[in-house]
Symmetry: C2
């Protein structure tokens, strides 16, 4: 039977005007994101989003809000997250949704929510946009994990509000949206207190929450609003965000969606459902690009650097969520390499400009999204391609790269953007990570201004193989066919290990250690079996029944 496109597709594009679950309010340098989840507005209609619990739809709006604040509201220096409901901040990810979702959806849901929380920390670290979580009620599970992603957690001391991570005792799973990792690695909560905390279904409140390092401060109800605002004001003073810059509006992407393709302005992805492959093409700019920060401000989101990477980001998310059987992605580029390198030089030279900085960090986050996409990535470098500078990162992110060695001109080229501005989640540039064994090699290559022809690229270790025209078709076809024939799970595990050589950071620990264990648990009958804890929760099936075997 011919595979066919699923009717239901998820889009991650939205706009504050269409938010169902969040209210964005901006007053000078302080934005407030009020969470008010609509119970009946879940992505599916077989669960209700009670108690400010969330599903992917809620998190898509959160991700959008954070993104837009960075680009569209340069004056915003502090974001306050709070609940608009009484006595409840957030009950975490919706359990009924998790209990009824496929394994693949659960994994990708968690991946996206993790990326959103890391995007908040990225804004804090690199954009001077700080986050305060004003916990004005019960804050459980994913709710507290959201708080953990903020710079400060303030808790109302009213005898009711508490923070908790009840996943293990209540649901038989982990606080997998970074909770375990952030507790001990970011907030440095002592490991035995973290262990105790994770077994207390009711959580911890009041002064004890401060003593254990779970929150930064508690205030009585009467003083809470003032305390939040005064801390926000203090944080705002320390930011270098511009007070009066021109906003960069993120206008809707134009996408032509057909049965087997998504086509954007600079990006397209086409699917071969029989071979289970996708071909992702990113094109260089074909029109004049900004040569100064002022010109970037003028061109806004029509600038190639932002538009092309927004399109790439959107394509990757649609691929993950809507095309689970497309296992291998062929990465291609097209256009004039010198145009990309010219853009890169402007970006690299103007990192003190807020918008240039935002665009650069967005490109970085998009490439991280590619690193974390559980599909095999094979870059094909042929005449007419444009693997230069920031687009060469696609080849560096690929599991392998093939470069045609032939009569026609075929080159790759580096730019200053390959020199650490587009860091992987382990804190290394992709060039550094590629040459872990020889620290100086990345720098030596970056000094090379001329493009590399196939022989030079091979010699420098920048590509995997350089078949000539006689071998190209067979070698590439065989590589793709062989890849597509392997176990999708083994490939996911293999890529998750080989792509992240070198140091680990809190970020890689979340995706490596924490997510890998959570995914394991998401497969175990003790969690997802008919009598497993996730299924039993809140249902008519009573208490879960466990196989007591420890592994």
């Amino acid at each position: 039977m011919e595979p066919s496109l699923r009717v239901e597709t998820i889009s991650c594009e939205t706009h504050p005007d269409r938010y169902r679950h969040w209210k964005l309010h901006i007053e000078g340098p302080v934005a407030t994101l009020g969470m008010d989840v609509q119970e009946d507005a879940g992505l599916r209609d077989d669960y209700q989003l009670k108690l400010n619990s969330y599903d992917l739809g809620v998190d898509i709006e959160l991700a959008d809000a954070i993104q837009r604040l960075r680009f569209e509201h340069p004056e915003v220096r502090v974001v306050i997250l709070r609940s608009l409901k009484e006595r409840i901040f957030c009950a975490g990810a919706n359990i009924f949704m998790l209990g009824t979702s496929s394994h693949g959806f659960k994994v990708n849901f968690c991946k996206f929510t993790n990326e959103t929380r890391l995007a908040m920390e990225d804004a804090s670290a690199h954009s001077g946009m700080k986050f305060i979580c004003a916990v004005n009620g019960i804050c459980a599970g994913g709710g507290y994990e959201l708080a953990l992603a903020c710079d400060q957690i303030l808790l109302v001391d009213d005898g009711n509000a508490a923070v908790s991570l009840p996943e293990t005792p209540l649901l038989g799973v982990l606080p997998g949206t970074g909770g375990l990792t952030r507790m001990v690695d970011k907030r440095k909560v002592r490991r035995d207190l973290a262990d105790l905390f994770c077994s207390l279904v009711e959580g911890v409140k009041g002064k004890r929450a401060v003593e254990w390092g779970l929150v930064d401060a508690v205030y009585p109800n009467s003083k809470f609003a003032d305390a939040v605002l005064s801390r926000a004001t203090a944080l705002a003073m320390m930011s270098d965000r511009p007070a009066e810059a021109k906003p960069c509006l993120l206008t809707p992407l134009e996408i032509d969606i057909s049965e087997n393709a998504l086509r954007y302005r600079y990006v397209s992805i086409t699917f071969d459902r029989v071979k289970r492959t996708g071909t992702l093409i990113v094109r260089a700019p074909d029109d004049p690009q900004p040569e100064s920060p002022e010109a970037f401000a003028e061109m806004g989101d029509r600038a190639w650097a932002l538009r092309a990477f927004r399109e790439l980001d959107d394509a990757l998310l649609r691929l993950r969520l809507n095309e689970p059987e497309i296992g291998t992605i062929i990465l291609r580029t097209e256009g004039d390499p010198e145009r990309v390198r010219a853009v890169d030089r402007v970006l690299a030279a103007n990192q003190n400009d807020w918008l240039v900085r935002e665009i650069t960090h967005f490109m970085k986050r998009t490439l991280k999204r590619l690193d974390l996409t559980a599909r095999s990535l094979i870059a094909l470098i042929e005449p007419g391609s444009c693997f230069a500078g920031s687009l060469f990162e696609l080849a560096l992110a690929a599991d392998r790269s093939y470069m045609l060695d032939g009569e026609a001109e075929n080159t790759i080229a580096l730019s200053p953007m390959n020199n650490g501005l587009l860091q992987m989640s382990n804190g290394l540039s992709r060039l550094q990570q590629r040459f872990l064994g020889t620290a100086s090699l990345a720098n030596d290559l970056l000094a090379e201004i001329e493009p590399f022809d196939p022989a030079e690229a091979m010699d420098a270790g920048l590509v995997t193989a350089t078949p000539d025209e006689l071998d190209w078709d067979d070698e590439v076809r065989l590589a793709i066919e062989a890849r597509a024939a392997l176990s999708p799970d083994a490939l996911t595990g293999m890529e998750a290990n080989l792509r992240f050589a070198g140091p680990e950071t809190m970020e890689t620990k979340i995706f490596g250690r924490l997510s890998a264990w959570q995914n394991w648990i998401f497969q175990r009958p003790n969690a997802v079996g008919e009598r497993g804890a996730l299924k039993a929760f809140g249902g008519a099936r009573g208490r879960p029944e466990f196989d007591w075997t420890r592994t």
Copy 2:
């Protein structure tokens, strides 16, 4: 139904006289471990160990040999690993054994083999005992992973011998005994070459294996033996192992095994099969202990520091392999704390002596084994207990510690052994890791020579809670009962995250990232389902059938 003791129990104790699969030959400073796996001598009789493939029994002998070389043969400075079979070095872990083993057994088998390979690297890093892998034939999967744990990999260049990691294309699983991690993190093989290599069932041989960094050198058959020996001789010259020291013989442990208990000289573990708990007790020395390196040499393996930790090591392995349903371990100690601290001071002061060094590293490895044991650990500190110095590491390794606050004397105490000599696998001392947020705190505490009473211990953050006599019984009982009622899988995942806060090393990456992904794959139908790749391999069921969904 009352749970009952399984009849079949696995012991990890052995001796070269009883090896079935390895031949140990020592000539001066060079030991040769010849692998000659007996097909019909597997731990179970439903598979044959063809082509030097291994099961747990084979690896238990390897672990024993490495251990004994360190203690019993101080003159040995280099170990050559080779095969005694023609044209085959080692085909890796036996697939039929894996395909028919329970999930828990597979996980614990991999954990033990990983610990054995790390013990080789520990010997290389800390004992001046270097390893050369003389690959004299096909070296596949776990065979190559064994080679990767050596300091040098030498490959015969005969058109037949090759190294390979065919797990992903052939079996739908990962090279999970450190293979993926060591390739890119230890040998710094370029990630795209590693990816390509892992998809080549036939592997790589000859010069290409050198070019890709997979092996250190190749030699034609005629020159191979000489080259191996000359490299061994060169390595031996660089070692500081003593040429004429008195061997420390590792005599058999005396164990009294009954239905619900293992009793050793200094260690005992008793099981409550209804509550699914075990009580592990380690006792301080009650007899005079060595006060100098010479006295350690004289006393040999009767010295408490070595004997007690060998017993602890054995108890942990038996627990893991034979008692899968015992989910919670209560850690207790008994005896005179000052005796333990006295031993610790002698050990810490004589790290330049080879035997003292070996004993210390053995204690360190045993405590790492405890960190990696997937059971909940609760330390109970009561009057008469002996949580001092190296034994206080048990409390630091525990997920929680409870200390009785009452009228009777009850103290804990530190010693120089808490100061980095018993490092965790992440390279930190347990004190450092406990106080990640305050770098100086561990040092401040180490300066404190007096014991800590409950109030002081609580104040210093050295224990989790100090219930008084009125609350003790209820609080401790409830903590243990509540723990034992939780999902074993969620606890395993939670502990694997909270126990390893802070930096990651190659070692923690192997157990965190690599093993977690492998465990996930070991649960997936694409590997272990009726038509999964592990089951299909070599069977009559033909090619595996995959669910193509990517996660």
